[in-house]
Each structure stands twice: as structure tokens, then as C-alpha cells.
């Protein structure tokens, strides 16, 4: 039987102006999580809060999440201190289809870089060639820059202000890739919806598969209540759609199926 876990916070370090990386001990979640999956974390609010898995360490039985402070729940979780015990459900949802990828282009924006970091690490383990592009508003928003640069074969960073990397958005970085670089690649994108939409249009136009991680307000997190639905095209009918559960059928969807 699956169960809810009691995880102990081992480490909490600030990553930038509004987010922190939290490491929890929970061997089951560390063992089972795959890149793209998320965990549902309890706080004093009524419902749990979903966060993408950023990394796992099965030897030490730990996993980590990156938490950006946007409201009361995330602020409370971000301010937890080592030793704190929290109820965590997970790992939840589906994961990136990494098995058959020949080459990966990963495009992350904002907190999207946390779950992408996990995919990047797994790709490195599997000796898959990677291009990693991350975009932030400004340098004080950026995070996981050195780690991701070290794990990727090609690395680009962009910022709206231009105070770090290329001035502009992740699209300005993508446009710099030549055919040799993007041929045969699978694209993974996590971040603001408008960014994922633009990235997937770019990918679809040049015939690449693109997988995106959709975000919805959730309640149960395990597919029972149908509050978290995303519009997904019905198979073989481009003009029809179904409401799929972000938490259980997603959060990862092929961008061609998404009704943006």
C-alpha cells in the first residue's frame, strides 16, 4: 500500500531573493521519485502544497524541493528549520519520458529550474547529451546556475534585465541554436505557462517533441477530486479536448496535446 510519509527536514538553504532549497529525509520518496514528479507537502493551511522534486539521493535517503515564496503556505514551508517533521505525499504524477531521448534540450524559467535540475542529473547519469537553458528576471532571481552548468554539455542563461547572461528570454537563447545542435533532440520545458507555450511552438515548428509540466491548483493530488484539470486534445481529434487531471495524468504532457 502507498502511504503518506513523515519526512524530516535536513537542510534548508536560501537560493535567491525569494526561494530556498529544502532537503528532506524520506527513503521511500528518495527511492521512487523520477524527474518531473512532484510531492505534496503539508503546512498549517488546510490543503497540501505541490512542489516538483529537485533531486534525490537514494544512498542517504533524501530528496529536495525548491520552494518559492508566493503566499502563506510556501512562506511557512520555506521557513521550516532542520529537524522539522512534515507530512509528505509522493512521489506523485507522471514523469518525463527520458528513456528514448537521444539528446535533450531543457528550458526552465523561474522555479521551473528546480524540477529540471533532477532531469538534467538523470540525463548525465544516462550519458545523454544535454543543452540547458534557464531564464530569470534578473541575477538576484537566478538559482542552480553553477550546478546546472556543470551537469550540461551546453549551458545558456538569460535575464530580462541582462545583468546575467543573454538579455532577453529563453527564446533568445533557443534562436541561437543551429540545426546540428537541435536535430534529434527532445525538448523539456518547465516554467511560466507563456514561456512553455512559446518553447513548444518553437519545438513543434522544427519537428521536435516537447514535454511541458503544467501547474494547476490542486486538492487531493492523487486524481480523486478533479479540481486540477488541464485541457488536453482528444487523441486523433485536434478540435476536441478532454479535461485531464494535472496531478495524476500529468503534470507532464506532450505539448502537441495541450490546449493552451
Amino acid at each position: 500500500m502507498k502511504k503518506e510519509h513523515r519526512a524530516e527536514l535536513i537542510d534548508n538553504k536560501s537560493m535567491n531573493s525569494d526561494s530556498s532549497l529544502l532537503v528532506f529525509r524520506c527513503p521511500e520518496i528518495a527511492e521512487e521519485s523520477r524527474p518531473g514528479q512532484f510531492v505534496n507537502v503539508s503546512c498549517s493551511k488546510f490543503l497540501k502544497r505541490p512542489f516538483g522534486v529537485n533531486d534525490t539521493d537514494s544512498i542517504n535517503g533524501t530528496f529536495s524541493i525548491g520552494v518559492r515564496e508566493v503566499g502563506e503556505g510556501s512562506a511557512e514551508i520555506r521557513s521550516l528549520e532542520p529537524g522539522a517533521l512534515v507530512d509528505v505525499l509522493g512521489p506523485l504524477g507522471n514523469y518525463f519520458p527520458l528513456e528514448n531521448a537521444k539528446k535533450l534540450i531543457m528550458v526552465g524559467g523561474g522555479t521551473g529550474v528546480y524540477p529540471l535540475h533532477f532531469a538534467l542529473k538523470e540525463a548525465r547519469k544516462a550519458n545523454v547529451q544535454t543543452i540547458y537553458i534557464c531564464g530569470f528576471r534578473c541575477v538576484s532571481d537566478s538559482c542552480l546556475v553553477d550546478e546546472c552548468e556543470a551537469f550540461s554539455d551546453r549551458f545558456m542563461i538569460t535575464s530580462d534585465t541582462g545583468d546575467v547572461g543573454i538579455r532577453g528570454t529563453v527564446m533568445d537563447a533557443l534562436y541561437r541554436l543551429n540545426e546540428n545542435e537541435y536535430n534529434d533532440a527532445t525538448v523539456l520545458s518547465v516554467g511560466p505557462e507563456i514561456m512553455m507555450k512559446n518553447v513548444s511552438q518553437w519545438a513543434e515548428n522544427i519537428g521536435l517533441d516537447c514535454f511541458v509540466s503544467l501547474e494547476r491548483r490542486m486538492a487531493c493530488g492523487i486524481g480523486m477530486c478533479l479540481v486540477c484539470t488541464c485541457k488536453i486534445k482528444t487523441k486523433n481529434h485536434d478540435d476536441l479536448y478532454e479535461n485531464k487531471r494535472c496531478c495524476a495524468d500529468g503534470p507532464i504532457f506532450n505539448s502537441r496535446e495541450v490546449v493552451w
Binding site: 490543503l47 505525499l89 487531493c220 492523487i222 480523486m224 477530486c225
Partner: protein, 306 residues
């Protein structure tokens, strides 16, 4: 000591029933809990044709509860009968099918379909209380006369035990409960969600794209308890209590107020193992307090004379 309850012609392994719309058809929850001591499971609310439900954001967290505006997303009754009913009846618990219609004709046509599977269905729960659809349902459930007509109509075409799920969004739940009883219901379920709203102060828009939604969770428990008690005092048929139950003490409150069974909804969404925890705690409580049968405490509320 067992938690078994007899209600009407049926026995239930425990008074704990999983409320409609909070456990889909049981598949996901079956990975977290065993159903052997669960009293029953209600299907997601079914309609004659498949429904996509409402667009946009469908959930808002509120103090001690939540609003939902799912709007009866479901695969339709025919798909359910072909693809989900077998699974539900394999769970070794009572199978309760929750149906919602636009009009009386919808309820009749769905009941006819269910009649063909009456060996697999223990109870038909008429949802006269969904606040998230524009037609039928709560509109019918707000009028004692329409409730009576509808229940009598469905009663006349099926021998499946009939529960009527009532809405709290009425002036007198005793009146709607009595109408259900007179129409031939075997029990009433009280309550469904309360119509509510949550507002984002920055955009000055409701958080739910449907503008309003149904409030559930501990926030509604006092209202549900009051309504269960009102129903149980005027009815001769059993009352199934529902609304905000989070733990075994809440269950005991509902039984004392007059509920013969209870349904648990939002609590399962917060912690999937809640139904099992509650059953464990009830077993412990009855053993420690030498309670032979939980039915002994049903309706034992001693009201103050005022």
C-alpha cells in the same frame, strides 16, 4: 468488536462511507487503503451524457475548508457501467451510485440503465444538491414539491434502495427531507456543499472561474450537524450524515445527532488514509468504552429544553 451497522435492509461493515466526488470510482484510493472495513463508496456524480465540468480554476482554499466548482465532470453513465462499475463492485464494500440530472426524465433514463445492473449496485443516491451546474439538481432539490415528484417517479421504476442527497442551501431542510421520505426514499443524506465564493483582492475577481462553488470541510460541520439533527427529528427513515468530518469524534457527534451512517469527503482528499484512521479510532473507542454496537448511540442527543 465490529463496527457493523444495519440500516434499512442492508448491513454496512462500518458507518464510514466515502462521499461522492471525493474518491472518483475508488481506483486511486485503493492504492492507499483497504476497503474491507469501509461501509460503502459513492461514485462520482454521474450524468446521462459525459460532462467536461466547468472551465478554469475549480478550487479555492478557505478557512478550515475549500470551495470546489468541478461541475460534475464525469464520463457519463454508459461509460461508467462499462468501465468503472466492475471495479467498484470488486472493492468488497457497498456500492452507491450517485446520479445527477437536468430534469426528471434524465433521472428516469439513468435509473433504467442502473436497473440492468442492480445485482452490482446496493444503493442509488439521487444527487438533488450539486451547486455547480445550472440546471436540475439543486434547483429540483430546493423545492419540496419537485423533490417529492422526482423521488416518487424514480421509486416507481426501481427496487434499488434509494437515498436522496439534500442541499443545505434551503430555508428548511426538514421540509425537503420530509418530501424525500414521502416520495419513497429509503434514507436521506445531509448535506451536500454550501454555495460560497472566494475573491482575489488584486484582480477583484472570484478565484473560481465559475464565480461560486461548493464549500466543504470542517467549516461546514456545525451546519451539517444541525441539519442532520433537524432531519432525524422529523423523519422515520434513516439519515446519513455528511459535512466536515475529519476524525472519529466528528463521526460520534453525527451519530449522536441522529445519523445512522456518515459520509466522508474532503477529509479523504486532505489525507487519503483518513477513512482507515477513523475506523481504527472508532474500534478503539468502542472497545475502551464498552459500546456493543455503534447503533446504540445513534440519535442519543439530549437537547436542552428551551
Amino acid at each position: 468488536m465490529s463496527l457493523r451497522m444495519s440500516v434499512g435492509t442492508l448491513t454496512f461493515e462500518s458507518p464510514i462511507i466515502l462521499a461522492s466526488g471525493t474518491c472518483n470510482f475508488g481506483r486511486e484510493l485503493s492504492e492507499y487503503i483497504s476497503f474491507s472495513r469501509i461501509g460503502g463508496i459513492c461514485s462520482k456524480g454521474l450524468t446521462l451524457s459525459p460532462r467536461l465540468g466547468n472551465p478554469g480554476c475549480r478550487v479555492a482554499e478557505t478557512p478550515s475548508g475549500m470551495l470546489n466548482s468541478v461541475g460534475l465532470q464525469n464520463p457519463g453513465i454508459d461509460y461508467f457501467l462499462q468501465n468503472d462499475l466492475d471495479f467498484m463492485s470488486s472493492l468488497s464494500t457497498r456500492v452507491i451510485v450517485n446520479v445527477a440530472g437536468h430534469d426528471p426524465d434524465d433521472y428516469v433514463r439513468m435509473t433504467e440503465r442502473l436497473n440492468d445492473h442492480s445485482d452490482q449496485i446496493d444503493i442509488l443516491e439521487l444527487n438533488l444538491s450539486c451547486p455547480n451546474v445550472k440546471e436540475g439538481c439543486m434547483i429540483i432539490g430546493s423545492s419540496p414539491k419537485e423533490i417529492f415528484n422526482l423521488v416518487a417517479l424514480v421509486r416507481s421504476i426501481t427496487s434499488i434502495p434509494l437515498w436522496v442527497k439534500l442541499t443545505p442551501n434551503v430555508t428548511s431542510i426538514a421540509d425537503t427531507a420530509l418530501a424525500a421520505q414521502e416520495g419513497g426514499a429509503d434514507a436521506v443524506v445531509a448535506i451536500n456543499t454550501l454555495l460560497g465564493m472566494a475573491i482575489d483582492i488584486r484582480s477583484a475577481r472570484p478565484i473560481l472561474q465559475n464565480n461560486t462553488g461548493g464549500l466543504s470541510g470542517p467549516a461546514i460541520k456545525p451546519i451539517a450537524l444541525r441539519m442532520v439533527n433537524e432531519c432525524s427529528r422529523v423523519l422515520s427513515i434513516p439519515v446519513v450524515g455528511c459535512g466536515g468530518i475529519m476524525n472519529y469524534k466528528d463521526v460520534l457527534e453525527f451519530l449522536i445527532a441522529g445519523a445512522s451512517l456518515v459520509e466522508i469527503g474532503t477529509a479523504t482528499m486532505v489525507h487519503p488514509t483518513t477513512p482507515e484512521c477513523i475506523i481504527n479510532d472508532l474500534e478503539k473507542y468502542t472497545a475502551e468504552n464498552h459500546i456493543e454496537s455503534l447503533s446504540d448511540i445513534v440519535g442519543t442527543l439530549k437537547l436542552w429544553g428551551v
